[in-house]
């Protein structure tokens, strides 16, 4: 796992991610040139598409919320020393949890139905992640492999349930009935319209506030609580944890289920906040991008917020860009996301070594 950095804070938190981003942007620009469009104009359109008007901001906010939740999920497991790349599956199961609540208790008043549906999402997502956590703690299975496999099992299970069990009776499209309006998450309009932002038809909803609360809760848990301390000790060194009287098995299972619960909350934004019904494949790769968000955000809630905003803007601006530049499709945004993961995550040492040589030399001489 990543050791403590010896670089100055501003280099670690600003310059290094900045260099990584610029490299990813340069390669992406190269691809744009390759398909015959102007990369500078593309950036302009992208920024306008993400922040230029109220509805754009609303969509950016909506996507950002997704990325915050999956980013926090990856980061929490990472602090405990694990790669949870099962965010997709956990979010998918979270959708099942909130759907079951919505379909069975939809006639309850909103104040009761919505918290129940949110809890359903967190519970199901957490339970799905607890399986790899338990298998690692008790049987030594590698979390990366198990979570990959669980993604596919989740996809098969959800397809079966939606197509055969939960489907709206008498129709062919694989989706459930529209939920009762009591479980719909309220939109953000009443909060933002007074500020002069007209969100238009953007699906930004109260889940964005929930995601902010999750960031705060994440910080309190990891850096200001006993379980969080134990979690970080286990992540650094299981041997040290055992020596200090911490049971790694229990901590791993706790970390994985909380991580899965965070991923499960993606369903709150997508299903309860926007789609209002369970549809196949609503997770749309957000779980995987969570890895990029966590890694760019240095596994800290503040960094994750910023990285998620970047990805949210890319996502929304990218779809607008696809409208305006016929040769650029939404797939181009997927390429950029992948490049950011590559440079910010896998190639993070690329610039670290030269920067360390640059900034640490005086100290070595002294």
């Amino acid at each position: 796992m990543r050791g403590t950095s010896r670089l100055p804070t501003w280099v670690e938190l600003l310059l290094l991610p900045g260099l990584n981003l610029v490299s990813a942007a340069m390669i992406a620009g190269l691809v744009v040139v390759l398909i015959g469009e102007d990369p500078i104009a593309a950036v302009g359109l992208l920024v306008y598409g993400a922040f230029g008007y109220g509805e754009a901001v609303g969509y950016t906010l909506f996507y950002t919320t997704n990325f915050v939740l999956t980013g926090l999920a990856v980061a929490l497991a990472f602090h405990a020393g694990h790669f949870n790349i099962g965010g997709e599956g956990q979010a998918y199961l979270g959708g099942l949890g909130s759907t079951l609540v919505a379909l069975h208790w939809g006639d309850l008043p909103s104040l009761l139905a919505i918290p129940l549906a949110v809890a359903g999402a967190a519970l199901f997502g957490g339970a799905w992640a607890l399986v790899p956590g338990w298998l690692y703690a008790k049987r030594g299975s590698h979390v990366v492999i198990t979570t990959i496999m669980m993604n596919f099992v989740a996809a098969a299970l959800m397809t079966y349930l939606v197509v055969n069990v939960l489907i709206k009776p008498g129709q062919q499209i694989p989706e459930t009935d529209i939920f009762a309006t009591t479980v719909w998450l309220p939109p953000l309009d009443p909060l933002l319209t007074p500020l002069g932002l007209d969100l238009g038809r953007a699906p930004a909803n109260l889940c964005s506030i929930l995601a902010l609360l999750c960031c705060l809760g994440f910080w309190l848990l990891v850096w200001r609580s006993r379980p969080g301390y134990e979690l970080r000790v286990v992540g650094r060194s299981e041997a040290a944890a055992i020596y200090a009287g911490i049971a790694p098995a229990r901590v791993t299972m706790l970390a994985m289920s909380l991580s899965g619960a965070l991923a499960g909350l993606l369903a709150v934004n997508e299903i309860l906040g926007s789609q209002h019904r369970l549809v196949l494949g609503f997770t749309g790769g957000y779980g995987f991008v969570g890895i990029a968000v966590a890694s760019m955000g240095r596994n800290h809630p503040l960094g994750i917020l910023l990285a998620a905003l970047l990805f949210g803007a890319l996502y929304q601006g990218g779809s607008e860009l696809a409208f305006d530049m016929p040769k650029i499709s939404r797939d181009m945004i997927v390429v950029i996301q992948g490049l950011v993961i590559l440079f910010a995550g896998a190639l993070e040492h690329l610039f670290r070594a030269p920067l360390e040589a640059l900034f640490l030399r005086p100290k070595v001489e002294r």
Binding site: I85, V144, Y160, N164, F288, M332, A346
Partner: protein, 323 residues
């Protein structure tokens, strides 16, 4: 009886077809993981290979040019993976995820820009590996049992299927019997020992990844210029991950891994035929249950509930020389 025989023949035939890319990918995964490099980028190397093979074949009209392009592109991705994880000691899982996402987007983007058919690349006639009728297949087809077996299962596949059959003993031999194979296994178990013996760890791992790239390129070309005529988005549909599961199910050993590929391919082939039909004892099996089966089996095996799969010891750990 005759109908049942024909059904089984067809089932075996499609098992072979579905197993081919799995075999290539599982062997590729085996080479890189036995050398200590986690390779969850099998999926995208195959997808990238499929894209490059289809583009080159569509432009040149030659399947051979396509095959070469597929292998080259896949090797290029292997180099990126190696640059990030071996040279710069980046997280191998993150690098795999990143490359997977880049290629999933890059294929349709470039296909759309170059061929303008909504992310598809159609192939002109002749730019594809056609089925090969082995000598005597037509004449012997009438011979009961053996003749039909020969004509349906052994003969009538395209070149890449036979290459996959050849690849199995070749890779098994390389890994088990050659000096390179011995060092490859050693570098996955104990790189310090290899380094002490004066053999470069990084070079070995790069070579293992490149070989894996060649195999993934073959698998990709099989998808786009042999089994199908052209490239479509996400055409590998998770087969790389299925091969990854097969590799673990085969406990990181060549022959068991290939057998696992055949088993998973058989389940896949049976699943299409079983749709809606009722089986004795169990009743109707949902297709999704069969789709999830390989992954469930792998989870169970990895957890030691059925046998025990032990990964190469230094798998996923970058090698730091000066310690």
């Amino acid at each position: 009886m005759d109908g049942l025989w024909l059904q089984s023949l067809l089932l075996a035939d499609s098992t072979v077809r579905l197993a081919t890319p799995l075999v290539f990918c599982a062997l590729a995964g085996l080479l890189s993981e036995r050398a200590g490099v986690v390779n969850i980028a099998l999926e995208c190397k195959m997808l990238g290979g499929a894209f490059a093979a289809a583009s080159a074949a569509a432009v040149s009209g030659s399947a051979w040019v396509g095959l070469l392009a597929g292998i080259t592109f896949s090797c290029g991705l292997a180099l990126v993976h190696g640059f990030a994880t071996i040279t710069h000691r980046g997280e191998q899982v993150v690098s795999g995820v990143a490359i997977n996402i880049v290629v999933a987007g890059l294929g349709p983007t470039l296909a759309d820009a170059w061929f303008g058919q909504a992310g598809r690349i159609p192939l002109p006639g002749g730019a594809r590996f056609a089925p090969i009728d082995l000598p005597g297949a037509v004449e012997l087809a009438g011979v009961p049992v053996l003749g039909s077996l020969y004509a349906e299962i052994v003969s009538g596949h395209n070149l890449l299927v036979y290459l996959a059959v050849l690849a199995v003993p070749t890779v098994a031999w390389i890994v088990a019997k050659t000096r390179f194979g011995l060092r490859l296994r050693a570098v996955g178990e104990n790189p310090e020992a290899v380094d002490t013996a004066g053999v470069g760890v990084e070079g070995l791992r790069h070579r293992a990844l490149l070989l894996a790239g060649v195999l993934c390129g073959l698998a990709g070309a099989y998808h786009s210029i042999a089994q199908n005529a052209g490239f479509i988005r996400d055409m590998t549909a998770g087969k790389g991950f299925l091969a990854f599961a097969a590799l673990i199910f085969g406990k990181w050993r060549p022959v068991p891994a290939v057998l696992a590929c055949l088993l998973f391919a058989f389940a896949d082939a049976a699943q299409v035929r079983l749709q809606g039909t009722s089986l004795p004892l169990v009743g109707t099996v949902p297709t999704q249950a069969i789709q999830a089966l390989p992954y469930l089996l792998t989870i169970l095996l990895l957890a030691g509930f059925v046998g025990r799969a032990v990964a190469p010891r230094s798998l996923g750990r970058p090698y730091v020389k000066d310690r």
